[in-house]
């Protein structure tokens, strides 16, 4: 059963990837292009300034290091983006199916479709929404090369913490269920998750590497596009996987 669920999770993830890719292509690529244009203009201005400085001192102009383009922009914005989103979304689809297998009938007495929808909403919050409030997605030219290691560690650490906290909150909800009833137990668990995540987010170091002159509208559009792409991906995953799982799990002739 788990293997067949895993396969369906990856399939749902693939479909989610195609929708998410379509949205990111339409809504996200323009801000990526504008961010790269900003970077190019900033680099050119820097090169010009150093050339003028050298000329003022009577030295030959420094030779600017030419950045060799390994992958062309159209490939990055097309097949490259598609590959990235497909691998990411298919992988999360598989992990989602494994989480579903563990949570089904253990989390709540819900059918496959409802379990899948609830789990996807929780996954979206825990894996993307909560971590991005602290460490939001950044377009090209935002972010220093020197700090990539630290920024990556912090981001992944926050995702793992967020997952651990939401699992703990879910277990707390189940423990409170007999005493407080479904509504209050869920409210308290949600409150605990939010409170703990606020505390952890405030405690973790801030990262702000947005260049002084970077256009605020591009940054906003980029982050909204990133959020939209993830929301579409998780929504598709949760709703489509639910249908596939229901068909697989329902005893023959007992489908409702």
């Amino acid at each position: 059963m788990t293997g067949r669920l895993l396969l369906r999770g990856m399939l749902a993830g693939l479909v989610a990837a195609l929708l998410s890719f379509g949205f990111l292509k339409l809504a996200g690529e323009s801000s990526v292009e504008r961010a790269i244009a900003f970077e190019t203009a900033a680099d050119a201005a820097k090169a010009k300034a150093s050339a003028e400085e050298a000329a003022a001192k009577g030295q030959p102009a420094p030779v600017a290091a030419v950045e060799t383009e390994l992958v062309s922009r159209p490939v990055q914005a097309g097949v490259g983006l598609l590959t990235g989103v497909v691998v990411y979304s298919t992988a999360f689809g598989g992990l989602f199916a494994l989480a579903f297998a563990l949570c089904f009938r253990r989390m709540a007495d819900l059918g496959p479709r409802a379990t899948s929808a609830v789990l996807a909403a929780l996954g979206f919050v825990a894996v993307y929404a909560a971590p991005m409030l602290k460490y939001p997605a950044n377009p090209p030219s935002v972010g220093l090369a020197e700090t990539i290691g630290m920024r990556t560690s912090l981001y992944f650490a926050l995702i793992l913490i967020s997952l651990a906290v939401i699992i703990a909150a879910g277990m707390l909800r189940i423990r409170l269920l007999p005493r407080l009833g479904a509504w209050n137990a869920a409210l308290i668990a949600a409150g605990v998750y939010v409170a703990v995540m606020i505390g952890i987010s405030l405690a973790l170091p801030d990262v702000n590497e947005v260049p002084e002159e970077f256009p605020a509208t591009v940054l906003w559009q980029f982050r909204v596009a990133s959020l939209g792409g993830q929301a579409i991906m998780w929504a598709t995953l949760g709703l489509l996987f639910g249908v596939l799982a229901e068909r697989l799990m329902a005893p023959h002739g007992a489908r409702a």
Binding site: M1, T2, G3, L5, L6, G28, E29, V32, L70, V71, Q76, G80, L81, L82, T83, G84, V85, V87, Y88, T90, A91, G94, L95, L98, A101, L102, F104, R105, R106, D109, L110, G111, P112, Y128, P131, M132, P136, A137, N138, P139, P140, S141, V142, G143, L144, A145, I148, G149, R151, T152, Y155, F222, A225, S226, G229, Q230, M249, P251, A254, A256
Partner: protein
């Protein structure tokens, strides 16, 4: 005649953890590897000594929310 109830469908039972575990370990590892290549490779850590993977998935890495550059 059985009386009509509001919830006539019985839910399938939970899947035993013993059955999930091998899939979770192997599948989880493979899938995490995929996410690593999209999100991290040739950025904060590198398996290959090039920049090709990073450059190829560049836009996806940014738009999916991973730290880059």
């Amino acid at each position: 005649m059985a009386t009509a109830t509001s919830f006539p469908v019985t839910l399938p039972t939970a899947i035993p953890v013993r059955e999930i575990l091998p899939w979770a370990i192997f599948g989880g590892l493979m899938l995490a590897l995929g996410i690593y290549f999209v999100g991290v490779e040739e950025g904060a850590a590198a398996v290959f000594n090039s920049a090709y993977v990073h450059e190829f998935v560049h836009d996806g890495r940014h738009l999916l929310g991973f730290p880059c550059h």
